[in-house]
Point group: C2
Chain length 230, copies 2
């Protein structure tokens, strides 16, 4: 018996296996061993199907939230959970980010993240902004990581692949070794840490101001497991 879920699942599998370009209603129908038009009994259009794919992937984000952990660590965990899904469904992730879906699919992550940020001491407005900034960073990072037509590929997204003229682009030329290689894990953690620390600073400043004192600029986190001062 055909149903919406089987169709969506087949679509996700097909996307991961052969890329988003390979997706067509005929192809999916063939994959399921049914006629093309049968799909339309469960899905109103191809666009809606892709939206459903996006929702499906998004809803797979795992939540191993640890309420006992420091909020900074919980932020890291949530960001990594998001990233893990993206790596598990890299090509579908491109579908997710390239369509804005107005559903409630990704609402649980948002709820958790906002709760964490509130707990950190941010007021509503700040929490929302922090979240948006965080999502922007994570999405941008994932786009760099998985936004790659073949499938794996360590290639560059922002630099040249061939040689560049050292006279025209001295700095790029000098830093070629760094530009040509990219350890995605490291890069992601680097930015993540920078962001978390920036947030911690903000939270501390907030707490200080609220406590009435003159706000020493740092000191957030403390006792977190992430240390990493440098």
């Amino acid at each position: 018996m055909l149903n919406r879920n089987r169709i969506v699942t087949a679509a996700v599998e097909l996307i991961e296996r052969e890329g988003a370009d390979a997706v067509s209603m005929r192809r999916i129908a063939a994959e399921l061993g049914v006629g093309v038009m049968s799909l339309y009994n469960h899905v109103p259009s191809k666009a809606a199907l892709l939206d459903a794919v996006a929702e499906d992937v998004l809803s797979r984000i795992g939540f191993t939230d640890d309420p006992s952990a420091h909020w900074t660590e919980r932020v890291r965990i949530q960001a990594r959970a998001f990233r893990r899904i993206a790596h598990h469904y890299p090509r579908s992730t491109m579908v997710v980010v390239s369509r804005q879906l107005s559903s409630t699919a990704g609402l649980l992550p948002v709820e958790r993240a906002l709760a964490t940020l509130r707990e950190a001491g941010f007021d509503g407005r700040e929490a929302v902004r922090m979240l948006r900034m965080f999502i922007a960073y994570v999405v941008g990072s994932l786009l760099r990581e998985v936004g790659v037509t073949p499938t794996f590929a360590p290639v560059r997204a922002d630099a040249s692949i061939a040689e560049v003229d050292p006279a025209l682009f001295p700095v790029v030329s000098e830093l070629r070794p760094h530009l040509d290689s990219c350890d995605h894990d490291e890069e992601f953690e680097f930015g993540l840490e920078l962001l978390v620390q920036a947030m911690a600073v903000r939270a501390a400043a907030r707490a200080d101001a609220q406590a009435g004192r003159g706000a020493g600029e740092r000191g957030g986190e403390r006792a977190g497991r992430g240390g990493a001062r440098q």
Copy 2:
């Protein structure tokens, strides 16, 4: 006389006017008043044309770099220049970010940004990481801002459009007012400032360490090009 530039320009205009879905070789040809296959004398394929569109938009980033300004301000300026282009060609921007292009089109921005970061005191590896993180944030932000199928729309990207159950999502429910509205300018500047400040902190820490103090846990690699991957 038909040429590659006229084709790309027509494509950009068409995308902005009617959306990326409206783009077809036949449509572009009609727009230019030529036969469909004539396009293929100047562009090898539709995919290549879209890459060219991406390059074209990217190359339009204006540079009003002010070497006398503090590096933090120059970072802000560069980020805003990027964003301005994205707002000028919102729908084409979606095309830009959804294909990874391995050309040298966006090389000038990269050169400038890296130079600025080097000037701020970062070594090569850090500079590249900072840049990547920054690009991730900017791209992610733009995706939120312009990644909207209609054309303008202030709608949400990460929250519900209808009502949510306060019992299931208490925090989301409470923060609905903040989630439903989004001043893109403010949000962008907020994240930008947070990032710039985080970078400044890092730069200051670096300067301190270099001045002879206790050298944080990292420190290796001075100015060298050698890999020494972690």
